[in-house]
Subunit: 565 residues, 2 copies
Amino acid sequence: MHDVRIFGGSVVSVFTGEVFAADVLVTGEVISGVVPPGTGGEAACLIDATGRLIVPGFLDAHMHVESSFLTPAAFAWLTLPRGTTTVLADPHEIVNVAGRAAMRWMIEAGRSTPQTQLWGVPSCVPALAGFEHSGAHLNTADVDELLRWDGVRALAEVMDYRAVVSGDERMHSIIATAREQGAILDGHCPGLAGEELSRYMATGIDSDHTKNTPEVVVEKARLGMTVMLQEKCLEQEVVAALTSLPRLPPVCLVTDDLAADHIAAKGHLDHIARTAVAAGLPALDVLRALTWTPAQRLRLPDRGVVAPGKRADLVLLEGPLEDFAVDSVLAGGRLVAAGGRPTYEEPHPGAHPFAGSVHVPGLPDEEYTWRVDLPDGRHRFRALRVNPVDTYTEPTEIELDVTGGEVAWEGRTALCWVRNRHGRDHTACVPVTGMELGDGAVTTTYAHDSHNLVTLGTTRHSMRAAAAAVLDDDGGVAVARDGAATARLPLAVGGVMSTAPAADVADASRLVRDELGAWGWRHRNPFMSVSTLTLAVSPSVKITDLGLVDVLARDWTAQVLDCCH
Amino acid sequence: MHDVRIFGGSVVSVFTGEVFAADVLVTGEVISGVVPPGTGGEAACLIDATGRLIVPGFLDAHMHVESSFLTPAAFAWLTLPRGTTTVLADPHEIVNVAGRAAMRWMIEAGRSTPQTQLWGVPSCVPALAGFEHSGAHLNTADVDELLRWDGVRALAEVMDYRAVVSGDERMHSIIATAREQGAILDGHCPGLAGEELSRYMATGIDSDHTKNTPEVVVEKARLGMTVMLQEKCLEQEVVAALTSLPRLPPVCLVTDDLAADHIAAKGHLDHIARTAVAAGLPALDVLRALTWTPAQRLRLPDRGVVAPGKRADLVLLEGPLEDFAVDSVLAGGRLVAAGGRPTYEEPHPGAHPFAGSVHVPGLPDEEYTWRVDLPDGRHRFRALRVNPVDTYTEPTEIELDVTGGEVAWEGRTALCWVRNRHGRDHTACVPVTGMELGDGAVTTTYAHDSHNLVTLGTTRHSMRAAAAAVLDDDGGVAVARDGAATARLPLAVGGVMSTAPAADVADASRLVRDELGAWGWRHRNPFMSVSTLTLAVSPSVKITDLGLVDVLARDWTAQVLDCCH
């Protein structure tokens, strides 16, 4: 006697690419049969899949739960109806804030959900050791211990790739520890190629999920890296480069960082799948890149294919495969979503010990008044130029007048101001160009990866308004325009996650997104483009609480450029 | 400073299918670089690969070391120059003879070689519990314990598939134990399809390496089984069925059972690769089926691709890829073969505790005189019909005269006579048809899977001569013609392996093969076709020391068919 019979549908075989009429039987957490319709014995419960395609649950081999602004259980509740039944999550946002205790809390919080949440140990806490101050620090011994925790599978993205390439002892020691334990070793190395790529991979790292040119994507695949494609990587030229190879290499579709409103409106892995189809990847290869390939990558031989004996993580799709329109979802044999909606109540988030994590004693009067030790007159400063498509920042320069030690930046440029919020009195700032912005500002404590208090604005009064709102909310994101806060996304869990209902978090993040656009911050990914201004392992110039970093040189860069003339 | 630079060659990427000029750098056991020619730093030692293709070492996901008649170290020495750097071996031949001690001995014997030898726990010892007597018996607790031994990865081929399908408690308990431990679960289920296949797979078993029709091969792949193709499976129709699917499913090329002379003359996995190419599988897919796919199957993420950071198991090929002509081999960074020959001395086999394993107190006068409890006259008997291609045996019948309780079989049929050699006084016999044989016989103690003393012959005096030779050799294979032994392959290690030099074992096995042919036993695989007459889990009628088995019914079958008229 089986528990469930899913009848009337057709299974898509990720192994052969065939679509065939079959009933899927489920007993406990496992598929107990894939049989000709009507055969295979009795079942206690029936699920009508007439006209539906039955495919494996989707696996996300690289993502960060915090980027949704949701806690693990709420994230599962929001993404299971999208077909995501397994994730390997890297909790490096909250761990940079609150260290090992945060890692423990995330694992525990995820355990109660029907989604399989596996974890990677953040490899770079802080992201760029010596160049920024986050709230925590993981050394080799920490990584070694955390890798032994239940549910932990991987050393998460080794982002400080310049340190690896240059032979940095600390990074190599952390990687060696993980390798000895047989962990999955995930990479992050935008643009890395040739001899340097080889040196990076020689440590055992064998995946990358960053944006690269088609040539570099192919080079990485050729050398044996699993190619992970997130939304921004799914350009037609990249897909064309991969599909025109003699053989398609192992490809995983991943989400990396998706905010709650984006998930609610567009979807999760299902959205990435549609993006991949639109970019030219055949639907069958998209399906493999959601299922069998990531299952192999995550070393989960119990899933990724609709087969007797495998875990009953199943997705029922409406319409043709290429739509990836998720109707119903089973996770571990349990029906968790039907008709696109969860079948269970949204979980109440438990208590969390990460309130009061924004250690900033109010806003000094001097905040956002840029003072320099320079004589009166016009001076040349380093600036970051952003672009509307990706998170690449180009170094540029700007001439600004200095009077009485104060830079007259308002009306000339936007300014990004970073204040340490982990108990140190550090600030740094840099002009930001590339957008046409009105009077406004955004403040966020979700700012990769140290999650300091970052304010980007065109006027001091809007910057103060945005920052005040975030401090008032005990962390979060706020947009201010014309000196008043117009959108607030409170993130009281370590300044990066919310305990509000998912729908409220989605609404708030949508409002922040809209207000950013209204201000003039017109970017394909407004959240990431703001929050990665501080990610000093992502090319090419970034700002931390300690100053300006030349990412590729892995060194400080001067703020005042007068001397270079 | 790297240890080795392999220069002048071109790497074949199993990921992208591209062939590209690159130097491969090796440090210790690991590939420390795959770099543009001449770059990447200094190396202590150079290997000239000019004009060579560099591919990953080959992995054999299903095989039995004993089938080579060699001990593990000698097997490695003979097969490493063929490119086989990793095997998952199922020691069920010797374990059926000598139990857990034999398993321990095999693992230890393999450890000293540069070949990675991983092990599966034999799942069916004896092959068909209750229908035969071998020298050992593994129950659930044994399997549970053996799976925890170092180097053990899998539950080896679950051959008693009829027991699994029919819900047999013992087999299900053994499989459940292995599944709980997360072991690889390997199958053996010739012809199984439909609801029964689903029931078999629902236990978690997800591979098959037996011979099947193209339709069944595709059905198994469709349902999520890894398809393992050995030589006899590599028919053009099977390959065509696979390559015409929307997507090629995961395929591993495996050797299963190859004798020493076959390996010496034709090759090991390299030979299977050429067979696959000849059958129509594109060379790039053949390469993947030798490397990346079995590495994934064996859950060895450290190999199967020429990539920085992976284990330096490397094969240098001469000529075009489709020739799979192995020139040099590195295993774990060590050059183990060059110019097609091993670079190290053949290992001296250590002592072994498996001498004197053929417990037969001489040959009684009555041996090979077939006595029955039937009245004088002509009677109809069950016979096995063999074919010259595979090991399938068809039930047939033969009329023979009985006089004074003795069957007059000489001159009318060949007879297969099984004598228990594990201390029990059991014999059984059956007529064998399908070959035109002269006066001769073959005796073997290498007889799947109980390895009893099996003699197949057309005359009593040749049968006695062959059997006497084998008993004299303390186990092995011998052919006799016209009443005298003409070929002997002594196998004193449990009656299934030899400690003689590999070349001598190859010579002796070739002589046995030739003499079998000269006698009239013209079969594509003479060793397997003789030694599987007793394999009562392989369709459709077989003989054990206890009698005749109807394999598909998993029941005894009558020897005398008179009643059925």
